[in-house]
């Protein structure tokens, strides 16, 4: 059994943040019914694709964030589509959607629609800026959202433009926080009998999250001081990223523990030198430069893995800058069983990151790969009690295979 195997989620989300939240539910056992529009979730059109050629069943992104779900294609612009949705909602414990604000009301499937079916059924609405306010209808993408609400301003070099995180990291962050809110809504519903329409603005999940923004904003409130855009490197002993023989290594905040650093470098006598130990003198750029001459040499004589091994022995804060290949092939994660192989009819056997955390009882399982578009339409509608005629009506507007 899995922790959430008694939960049915009616999933009307698309793109990344919402589907990542429902993936967490699905991976821990929930029956997640993914409603796709004819043509499918836009993520089916986003790469990386196997072989680099776009194909709706060969997106690695779609594959990863839609595992363990079943796909049902419904055209919610038709009454038969909405009737099928009502039947599914009657068996659901939670509904989540990520249409542009106002769309579900225009389609006639707003909160009232679900509330009439089950007053304790929570509806989670996910949108860029929330269901109210002047930016309600504004667009956002990873870059635009992170620049606006995350702490992008202070990332990069002072003389250049601010620079974002990799990929769509912010959307995954927000997705994880949406999963928390879903659990909260489920607890309210099941433990206290309270159904509600939760309004999640991705903007607020960014601004209110644990990016450095929470610290830069309150630091400004407190002191009027603003956080400069600057590389983290070279401001301490050591601090930031250094070159090594075969790449780079990160010693951010290692200087908080001068004794451990001295031990790592085999220079215990530095602990008797006030320039290297007095907190104030340690901020002197000339002292830092002198120290760095020793340190850079130490770094360049070692590979990233060798330097990290010595840092680990001395308990120094440190990590090598791995490529995806380094990370993928690393024995530590392999031996811990982190990577998971999944078979898929169009992709073959694919390795994906496995459990996000280890939960011995009721934990993560890969029960089925991401669904083909509309793969489970008939199966799921039949489970919801629709007869042949109703199933035919609900799927009439949808071309075979769900493609459009």
């Amino acid at each position: 059994m899995q922790a959430l195997d008694d939960i049915t989620v009616l999933d009307l989300t698309h793109h990344i943040a919402g589907p990542y939240a429902t993936k967490l539910f699905a991976d821990f056992g929930a029956n997640v019914i993914k409603i796709e529009k004819p043509g499918g979730d836009i993520t089916r059109a986003l790469g990386p694709f196997k072989g680099g050629v776009p194909h709706p069943e060969k997106s690695g992104l779609f594959f990863y964030i839609n595992s363990n779900k079943r796909s049902v294609v419904l055209d919610l612009k038709t009454s038969a589509g909405r009737e099928a949705l009502a039947a599914l909602a009657g068996h659901a414990d939670l509904v989540i959607e990520s249409f542009a604000p106002g769309v579900i009301d225009r389609l006639g499937i707003g909160y009232d629609f679900f509330h009439a079916i089950n007053p304790e059924l929570p509806l989670i609405s996910v949108s860029n800026f929330g269901q109210s306010g002047p930016y309600r209808d504004y667009q956002a993408t990873e870059l635009v959202m992170y620049g606006f609400m995350g702490e992008m301003y202070s990332m990069g070099l002072n003389e250049r433009e601010p620079v974002k995180m990799a990929g769509t990291a912010a959307m995954f962050e927000s997705g994880a926080s949406i999963a928390v809110a879903m659990m909260g809504a489920l607890f309210s519903s099941k433990r206290h009998g309270v159904g509600q329409h939760v309004d999640i603005s991705i903007a607020e999940t960014q601004a209110g999250g644990v990016d450095r923004r929470h610290a830069t904003t309150i630091a400004y409130q407190f002191s009027g001081r603003k956080t400069v855009r600057a590389a983290s490197s070279a401001g301490g002993m050591p601090q930031g990223i250094y070159p090594v023989a075969d790449g780079y290594i990160d010693f951010t905040n290692a200087g908080l523990y001068p004794d451990r650093v001295a031990e790592m470098l085999n220079h215990a006598e530095w602990l008797d030198d006030p320039r290297f130990i007095d907190p104030l003198q340690r901020m002197d750029p000339y002292v830092i430069e002198e120290w760095n001459v020793h340190f850079l040499q130490w770094c360049l004589e070692r590979t990233k893995r060798e330097a990290w091994a010595e840092a680990r022995r001395a308990k120094v804060l440190c990590a090598p800058l791995f490529t995806m290949q380094d990370m993928f092939e690393d024995d530590h994660f392999r031996d811990r069983g982190f990577w998971q192989s999944v078979d898929h009819p169009d992709l073959g056997s694919v390795e994906i990151p496995g459990r996000p955390f280890i939960m011995g009882k009721g934990g993560w399982e890969m029960r089925r790969p991401a669904p083909r578009l509309g793969q489970h339409t008939e199966e799921v509608l039949r489970e919801a009690g629709l007869d042949d005629a109703a199933i035919q009506a609900a799927t009439a507007a949808v071309p075979a295979g769900g493609a459009r």
Binding site: L143, E173, R229, G360
Partner: protein, 442 residues
């Protein structure tokens, strides 16, 4: 008045730095009672600040988000208001106890017996040294749920490696994937997105485990290896390697899905980056239709109608030329002006906000996102970021401002643990019960 979602759940918070406290913050916001045991004789660096008693000049010279104290004063108890942590301590309760001594551990054991969850994210070995293992907790409470957040997991060659979020991201590939495409990675600024993900998933894990416990009666141990947890944030790069053995590299502000243009452009600025008065606007055009609308919104300049740019493939090929044109347009306009102009045409665009400017944003103001809180050392009150979600029937209140050190000693010892007056006095005399760090703590 409805009960909060996690009403009746008690969490013991043995967390440090960010990843753990962010998890318990979400549980607290949803109504759990989160109790923080803190030790008057041990300061955890990067938790309530860098040091308990930092020299004034160190704070002044530290970067603003670490050193920017209320009124620019170090004050008597900097651990109560260091900006690095203070936003994560609302809705929690703090009491003090020295867990290095047997009577301190006895206090914890009694608390565990009447709690649901113990959450910790200390460096591997710290809890073992104190004797706080899952078996020890289970003996005190068979149904306890323990969450541990080791950096790389409790097994394997990296089990004892010391790490903050920034280090985990280096190992998981993020540091090489982000940043400028034409600078070496030492131009990177430390970030901690792995703390966000592990913190949110930790809160999710706790609730999933409570759900499981309520069905089966079983508690359990949960391990979040923070590095493993962070891998999914870079799904596109992970899957590109998995499917194609392609090693992705940094692409600056461009779109990982290859839709052009996507970038950060200079806007009219009141000053320079030296004084943090430089303004920038981000713009992302995702489709060919949006590209047409973009040209119209800009007033149909000749370059926007260039047929070479009509398709995404063409824009991908010539993106630097396009970026140059866009920058010339934005440089003469206010960032918010560009945002409203382009958003009116259905195109994603927004200022890159420096932190002080977020408080002036009319949208967040109208949604009531900011919450003023005042507390010891910050009595005049300051505006904090709001909660991450809006629950209409069970609203998330900021009922407890950032908790000060030992603020709830009386509540925890007398009301929760119901210790006798004599025991309270003895614990206080032995230094367990305090509202400040011992002067011997640096």
């Amino acid at each position: 008045m409805s009960l909060k979602p996690l009403e009746g759940i008690r969490v013991i918070d043995l967390c440090v730095v960010w990843a753990g406290p962010f998890a318990t913050l979400q549980l607290a916001d949803l109504g759990a009672e989160v109790l923080k045991p803190e030790n008057p004789f041990v300061f955890q660096p990067m938790t309530r600040g860098a040091m308990a008693h930092p020299p004034e000049i160190v704070m002044q010279r530290s970067i603003a988000w670490a050193g920017g104290m209320p009124r620019n004063e170090l004050g008597e108890k900097p651990w109560n208001y260091s900006p690095t942590f203070v936003s994560l301590y609302r809705n929690k309760r703090s009491f003090t106890v020295d867990l290095r001594r047997p009577e301190g551990m006895d206090v914890l054991r009694r608390l565990v017996a009447i709690s649901d969850v113990v959450y910790e994210n200390n460096a591997t070995g710290t809890m073992e040294k104190l004797g706080i293992t899952y078996d020890w907790l289970k003996a005190a409470n068979p149904k306890i749920i323990m969450v541990r957040v080791p950096a790389y997991g409790s097994t394997g060659p990296y089990a004892h490696a010391r790490a903050l979020g920034v280090h985990l991201e280096a190992v998981m590939g993020h540091t090489l994937l982000r940043g400028y495409d034409d600078a070496d990675p030492s131009a990177n600024t430390a970030i901690y997105s792995g703390d966000y993900l592990a913190g949110a998933q930790g809160a999710f894990a706790v609730m999933a485990a409570i759900w499981h416990r309520d069905k089966t009666g079983e508690g359990q141990l949960i391990e979040i290896a923070q590095a493993e947890n962070a891998a999914s944030m870079f799904t596109q790069a992970v899957m590109d390697y998995s499917l194609n053995r392609n090693v992705q590299t940094a692409i600056g502000n461009r779109d990982v899905h290859g839709r052009f243009p996507c970038g950060v452009y200079p806007a009219q600025s009141p000053g320079t980056a030296e004084t943090m008065d430089d303004h920038w606007v981000s713009i992302h055009v995702e489709t060919d239709e949006q590209w047409q609308a973009f040209g119209h919104a800009l007033g149909n300049p000749a370059w926007a109608a260039d047929p070479r740019f009509a398709t995404n493939d063409g824009r991908a090929e010539h993106f630097r030329e396009i970026d140059h044109h866009i920058a010339a347009f934005t440089a003469e306009r206010e960032d918010y002006e560009v945002m409203h102009l382009l958003q009116g045409a259905g195109i994603a665009a927004a200022p890159v906000l420096e932190a002080s400017r977020i408080f002036n944003d009319p949208h967040l103001r109208e949604r009531g996102f900011f919450r003023r809180q005042s507390f010891e050392g910050a009595e005049e009150g300051y505006e904090f970021m709001g909660p991450m979600w809006q629950f209409p029937e069970t609203p998330i209140d900021f009922y407890q401002p950032p908790v000060t050190f030992g603020e709830h000693n009386d509540y925890v010892y007398r009301d929760v643990l119901k210790v006798s007056d004599a025991e309270y006095a003895a614990l206080k005399a032995a230094g367990h019960i305090a509202t400040q760090y011992d002067p011997s703590v640096p």
